[in-house]
Assembly symmetry: C2
Homo-oligomer: 350 residues x 2
């Protein structure tokens, strides 16, 4: 709602040159609504999954949804907001349009302290629905606390290597990439540019596998990335099994261990398993009232990334991740409501 | 987000010709954020009050606010949404712009079942920030569960008598008017047109006093309205005392009783007092966890209006009002989350 041109609310911590983490992902505004199971069927949505949709389908889904609550989202953006809420420093790269949802996204991520300069390089072509519309994710929450997502990427889908400034990526100790980006060729090229920039600057690179269907689409690419481009993998059980075509979770853990990449695997109510070159560590979940699970994985990654960039051992980093995830599932929406730094201090983790 | 031109989600009950209630008010999208007390001071806002602001000040306030949650609001619109959630039929009149917040407002109120045809009559003049921007209310919630509101009315401020269709008002048994509307001369004229249309059709007219500062501005007008134009007054303690310049609440109750108008006075955690020509009835509040009080008065009015238009005696109508208020203060946001009709049935009120 504020002009996009001027920085809105840069906190002191965001003004420093060095950043803990730079994330790249789809900037989205989430439209949250409660839904009955039947509605998912009518809209051809698979419960618990994320479906990419075009604008026409987005209009149909929105029209069928109940009253909504709009709140800034996007997987990697949520993770960056969580890092800032822990007192860390984070930057975000993603493309929005010059519209109200873009202004809302910009206001919200900046007001958490994340450094975000909206990427709106002019295209040569005509205005399209993508160039003029910020992405949005329709999140349908059913009574079983599952959420089903239908995402119209809008301007987020137009990220290209030209939008990734190597100097900005180099400011981060860790470069955090959203797996969803691999669905689009120009964004994929942008990710490869970011990986090179991070490594050139001596930083490490993390990839979140995002969604098991997404893993199936990019398995070959990602297995290759795991052979040298990636330092950290974030995944849940389904995603890590899909990556290695494993028949059991145990086999998937064996496979990821062989790669030598540090892997943080969330296991829902059980917590997380960290796979390191020196073995596996099971880190139990932090107890929480489970209201709505959107953002649980994103916020686990906030805590884990904060830990990795602040000298924590992987087990302590995962404990912090579990704490952040517990906060996020205790309310609607995928950005923290409570003061994460205070919660972590109370729990003796900061 | 959906085209405004086509009805989005008219439920069967909204398609009937007769309506229980037709409300007129400012259509607003609320931008909710948590705030420290100090921020209110910095922004020159008085805790607990509603301040009308221009667009420039809205930009400054938004820039200083933390991450927001956007949810449809507006006092009379909330009341209509509550009536629909109880299973009643309601219509709403208010002016929005052809922008994203306007589309969000339209989607949300229609998806509750309220009949709403966006009022966007062309103006002769140039585009202004008012004609192009749907109104929004910045709601700053402090730790003491108080909320402080700063409202940019946008298109809502441009309502004139031309926008009030007497035939639509006549469809309601009860016409519900927002006191805030009296701050603008053309809207005030629109209210007078609605009052005439309702009475011509044999309906009754209710006014909510909205805010004690608003009462001070319009005391003379409203005392005159109470002498024949109004059938029901909604107010809280401060507002009813302001209306009669009373030094005590007791004196204000005496004064309103003398007018012969049915008055439903909310008394916060104590519940409500109904003043009828046959005496006063104290109706205790329904117990609730007090998270955020936005919309408590609006939703009390939902229950009371539903009761009045369904043959309830005033005490039972107030009980239903208290139940609706209890639901709304138990969560952020001023539109119901739980199924009000179910809650009311469980409580033996429906």
């Amino acid at each position: 709602m504020t002009d996009l041109g001027e920085p809105v609310h840069l906190t002191t911590k965001a003004e420093v040159l060095a950043l803990d983490v730079v994330g790249i992902g789809f900037p989205l505004v989430d439209v949250l609504a409660l839904a009955e199971d039947e509605l998912l069927g009518e809209l051809d949505l698979v419960k618990g999954s994320m479906t990419l949709i075009d604008h026409a389908r987005a209009e149909r889904i929105y029209a069928a949804m109940g009253p909504g609550t709009e709140v800034s989202g996007g997987s990697a953006a949520n993770t960056m907001a969580g890092i800032a809420a822990l007192g860390g420093t984070a930057g975000f790269i993603g493309r929005i349009a010059d519209d109200e949802l873009g202004r809302i996204f910009t206001h919200d991520i900046r007001s958490t302290g994340v450094v975000f300069e909206p990427v709106m390089l002019a295209d040569d072509g005509e205005d399209t629905i993508e160039t003029t519309t910020t992405g949005r994710c329709h999140v349908l929450s059913t009574a079983d606390a599952e959420r089903t997502m239908a995402t119209f990427l809008g301007a987020g889908s137009l990220l290209t290597p030209a939008h990734v400034d190597p100097a900005f990526v180099a400011r981060g100790q860790l470069c955090y990439l959203e797996g969803y980006q691999w669905d689009l060729e120009p964004a994929k090229a942008a990710m490869r540019k970011a990986i090179a920039a991070a490594h050139d600057a001596g930083g490490i690179v993390a990839l979140t596998l995002s969604d098991s269907f997404c893993v199936e689409r990019h398995q070959a690419d990602w297995l290759q990335l795991a052979e040298g481009d990636l330092d950290v993998i974030f995944a849940n059980e389904d995603e890590i099994m899909a990556l290695f075509s494993s028949d059991t979770f145990e086999h998937a853990l064996d496979a990821v261990e062989e790669t030598g990449v540090l892997a943080a695997i969330t296991t829902g109510p059980a917590g997380a398993i960290v796979v390191t070159p020196n073995g596996r560590i099971t880190v139990p979940a932090v107890e929480a009232q489970r209201i709505e699970t959107t953002g649980a994985g994103d916020l686990f990654a906030s805590g884990f990334c904060y830990g990795l960039t602040h000298g924590f051992d992987p087990e302590s980093a995962a404990r912090l991740g579990n704490l952040c995830a517990a906060e996020i599932i205790s309310h609607m929406g995928a950005r923290p409501v409570a003061d994460l730094a205070e919660l972590a201090a109370e729990a003796g983790l900061l």
